[in-house]
């Protein structure tokens, strides 16, 4: 095995461990963990046996394995961006609900204080 392969496999393994045994692990959905595992396995295979990636690329009509990898990366990145955008919107909505509650409570307190 060449040095880069050893390094990459170690990095992928550590990253996967980080996802699976993080303190917030129970909050990550099970299917997301499975996808992460599959992805890590795919990454390790791609690093150790680049010719498999080449074969796969030819199978779907792409010239080189590296090109296929780039396309897959694009898909992964775009879905990440979209996912993150939706999550931010969701978080924003939660914050707005909280802030609205504060605003309404404050208005209520003020009205009560004025009545007294």
């Amino acid at each position: 095995m060449i040095l880069i392969q050893i390094l990459l496999v170690i990095v992928f393994a550590l990253l996967l461990m980080r996802v699976l045994v993080s303190p917030n692990s129970s909050r990550i959905k099970a299917w997301k963990k499975i996808i992460a595992c599959l992805f890590a396995v795919f990454a390790v295979v791609a690093v150790l046996f680049p010719e498999i990636l080449d074969d796969l690329a030819h199978e779907v009509g792409v010239g080189r394995g590296a090109d296929l990898l780039l396309y897959l990366l694009c898909v992964a990145f775009l879905s990440y961006v979209l996912n993150q955008y939706l999550r931010t919107k969701d978080d924003e909505y939660q914050i707005h609900k909280l802030a609205r509650k504060i605003a309404l409570l404050e208005a209520e307190l003020k009205t009560k204080a004025e009545k007294k």
């Binding site: 939706l86 924003e92 909505y93 707005h96 802030a99 609205r100 504060i102 605003a103 309404l104 404050e106 208005a107 209520e108 003020k110 009205t111």
Partner: protein, 231 residues
Amino acid sequence: MNVMSTSNVAIIIPVYNEGKVIASVVKNVLKQFDFVVCVNDGSKDNSESEIAKTKARLVNHPVNMGQGAALQTGIEYALQFPQIEYFVTFDADGQHSLADAQKMLQYLQKNKVDVVLGSRFLGTAKNMSKLKKVILKLAVRFSNATSGIKLTDTHNGLRVFNRKFAEIINITQSDMSHASEIIQRIAETKTPFKELPVTITYTDYTVAKSHNPNLNAVNIVFDTLLRKLVK
């Protein structure tokens, strides 16, 4: 205009950096309506103290959250008062006319609809720029193609609705996309509605204020399509 009781009407005004005009707009509204809620959406200017000068009720957002969020806050505030039966959303910059609001209220009270929407394209828009007109017309086409109900003006801030619709409106889109969301809500709940002509007056002030309508339109289209996609 015949006089009628307005104690069951809440006027909801979202306010963001309107310190220059808000006091005069609110005072004008208070001449005809008692229950006026100003939702100060984290303004950076003196809007808050200007509103405090008037007899309007003030609800303060701790941070800026957008016009849609401010409307929802105003609606939820007014819903707390059981005597309120009718809700009017009104822009803070004075571009709407009170006579139109009265006319829409009367229509709502006399007809079997839950929502009355103002339309500047059925009525008149004074001093509207050509570019704004084109963008708004495109917005109408886009909305009519995606929402399932046909309207002539989809981004009009003057709306009147009853308690039933106020309870289900639940605006979640904080920014300008809330206009499409309200239409979406009308369509999906099959709420009976009516569009009435209104007059919108674009003063130098309102024109100077509205920034980047084009970019805004892109945001609205993007968010509306995304919302459809995710549902």
